[in-house]
Symmetry: C2
Subunit: 377 residues, 2 copies
């Protein structure tokens, strides 16, 4: 922007939502705000785990028939905060695996907790982290036979940044792998509503998953709640430490000590989200961004690139074989004034890719695609 | 309630606010909610550290002329969350001191991080925590000459539960003590607006404090935001580790990795709080609860008890020498159906005291006091 002060920069970089929140949701939050000025409507400290009604509604909306109940759901101020609270739960002595590439918060929070050992510059990896490579060669699902056992496995599906949603068969293998190894899967399903095919929306669709998995999710990308801050974590009663103690009981202690519940106004919004009108409205928001994905996918396909993701996620993952992510990113920025994200920012396995986010106003996405066509024609 | 199903139980136990939030504040939050449904008013991810305008307004309102600037202020979802994020910053290898008695979150979060060593049943203390006894004998300010050096000193003033606000001279000694020892003070000023006398409202009123202290604060008890969730932490640029690295830079990394900012709607409320009308409205809320304190103090004074706190805090700390806190609590509950808090819950130094909270509707406080007079007449 310093170099080209008149440039119309378009950001399809960080995955920040751009579309207004449906009114059925904001009017509930406004109503709750006003109510806080009345004697009858005022509420102070809520349950740290979230309001009973919201926990029940999340369980019903996202986990009906999957055996996840109201008291298994912990309402949070967003997935990022809960990932970090889970790391505090695990402590500094656990080992962990991540998809490579993946959302950086898993590794970053692990570094802060002291789990990772030193960064090894030559391979761009932390010594104690098991990187599960996810590339076009293995269909973006890790080779579990070549994966070392760890205490914790972070797994994001649909994946940020590759956009790949693991299949039922693949997740069944992952659950078996965790069970064999006595590992806990932290399954990040923040993009589950973007799934178009029959890939599972929740890890708990997989038989036996309740004994090995925690699911972290969020309203951010469904309702445009990136700024409102509301999410949840589901921890089944069946998930036990090797000594038989329930993990959920420990997490409850973390939540009660390190957190005081999500904002009551945001929770009113969450309750509106999972009402019948809210669900419909969220599907419209998700549908809009999915149309953006389609436009981006078609653009890069038409230009002859190998294009991944998009179908089940708001992220398009584009391959530039043999090139440096940062060079591609810089060339695109320099020549089209569109901000993307260099794939190597998500781990060494992202080298040679860029991520294009489908979060944007339609006219910006269309204009960005025009510029991409100009650049790569 | 099982035993006396018809009892009118009054809770003056946990310090939860009961009075409606002033309309000048809730209307700002409602307006922000509605705006999120418009293209112009929508906002997604905000700065993890908080909105610039709010950070500036907090700096101006609470730290004018104290040298705390906009970028020293980190907006949070409440003091409890930030205490825990500070513990993550400090890690498991630090030593810490707390006032005894004090708000349990300091010790509890320290236990979770693994700083404390084992609980020693005979003395009701954790092995690695330095308990700074605060009793009527020492005027509720610890004897620093008998206090061991620790890396971190948690210090809450006005104190929860004793209600005692440290004087300028005492805090000057505390800052000197921290400086001599290379300790960091985490100063919890969540009740500062309750100060009636000339006790400092902020640790940064003390010369040199910026080189040794972090201040954690909150809108919870000023505006009734216990459910809305909004607070802040101020970390001066002058606060450095022994190697010269700024603590604020590290905390910034924690905030960006483990948190995604407070709810934008709550932040709109915060901005209204620190507007001229909002400040006036908050003083009215605080004034109301302070009247409650006066009523409770007068009641127990008239009954011949040694009564502490109340003047500078919404907590009244009542001495029952030689008695067990839990026995007193149980007798009061059994005979008056009023919930108080046993002092020993705040640390072994709280034994023999009960805390009566001034957060309550006026009629409940008056009725509770009538029952106290009945019991102890």
């Amino acid at each position: 922007m310093l170099k080209y002060p008149d440039a119309q920069v378009i950001s399809l970089g960080i995955g920040d939502t751009t579309e207004p929140i449906p009114e059925v949701i904001t009017s509930s939050m406004a109503k709750r705000s006003y109510a806080l000025s009345t004697v009858e409507g005022y509420s102070g400290y809520g349950a740290e785990q979230g309001e009973k009604q919201l926990r029940a509604a999340i369980a019903k909306t996202y986990y009906e028939n999957l055996g996840i109940e109201e008291d298994d759901v912990f309402v949070s101020d967003g997935a990022k905060s809960d990932i970090s609270r889970l790391q505090v739960l695990f402590g500094s002595k656990v080992t962990m695996a991540v998809q490579d590439p993946s959302y950086p918060a898993y590794v970053d929070s692990s570094v802060i907790l002291g789990q990772t050992g030193q960064f090894q510059k030559d391979v761009e990896k932390y010594g104690n982290i098991e990187y599960m490579k996810c590339t076009p060669e293995n269909g973006f699902f890790p080779d579990l036979s070549a994966t070392c056992r760890t205490d914790i496995i972070f797994f994001c599906s649909p994946n940020n940044p590759t956009g790949y949603a693991a299949s039922r068969e693949q997740l069944t293998r992952l659950v078996e792998f965790a069970k064999e190894n006595g590992s806990i899967i932290v399954y990040d399903s923040a993009y589950a509503m973007y799934v178009s095919d029959d890939s599972p929306r929740s890890i708990f669709e997989i038989p036996g998953a309740k004994e090995v998995a925690i699911e972290v999710s969020s309203f951010s990308k469904y309702a445009g709640f990136t700024g409102v801050r509301l999410g949840w974590t589901a921890i089944p009663k069946e998930l036990l430490y090797s000594d038989g103690f329930p993990v959920a009981k420990d997490f409850n202690r973390i939540v009660c000590t390190c957190f005081n519940g999500a904002s009551n106004i945001a929770q009113a919004g969450g309750l509106a989200c999972v009402s019948p009108e809210g669900i419909k409205a969220m599907h419209e928001v998700v549908g809009f961004y999915k149309e953006n994905s389609d436009i981006i996918v078609e653009t890069f396909n038409s230009l002859g690139f190998k294009v991944y993701g998009g179908k089940n996620a708001p992220y398009v993952w584009i391959h530039f074989p043999g090139q440096s992510s940062w060079d591609v990113f810089s060339e695109i920025l320099e020549k089209t004034h569109v901000v993307t994200t260099p794939g190597s920012g998500f781990g060494p396995g992202g080298e040679g890719f860029i991520r294009v986010s489908a979060f944007g106003h339609r006219e910006n996405v269309l204009e960005a695609c025009r510029r991409f066509k100009q650049l790569y024609k």
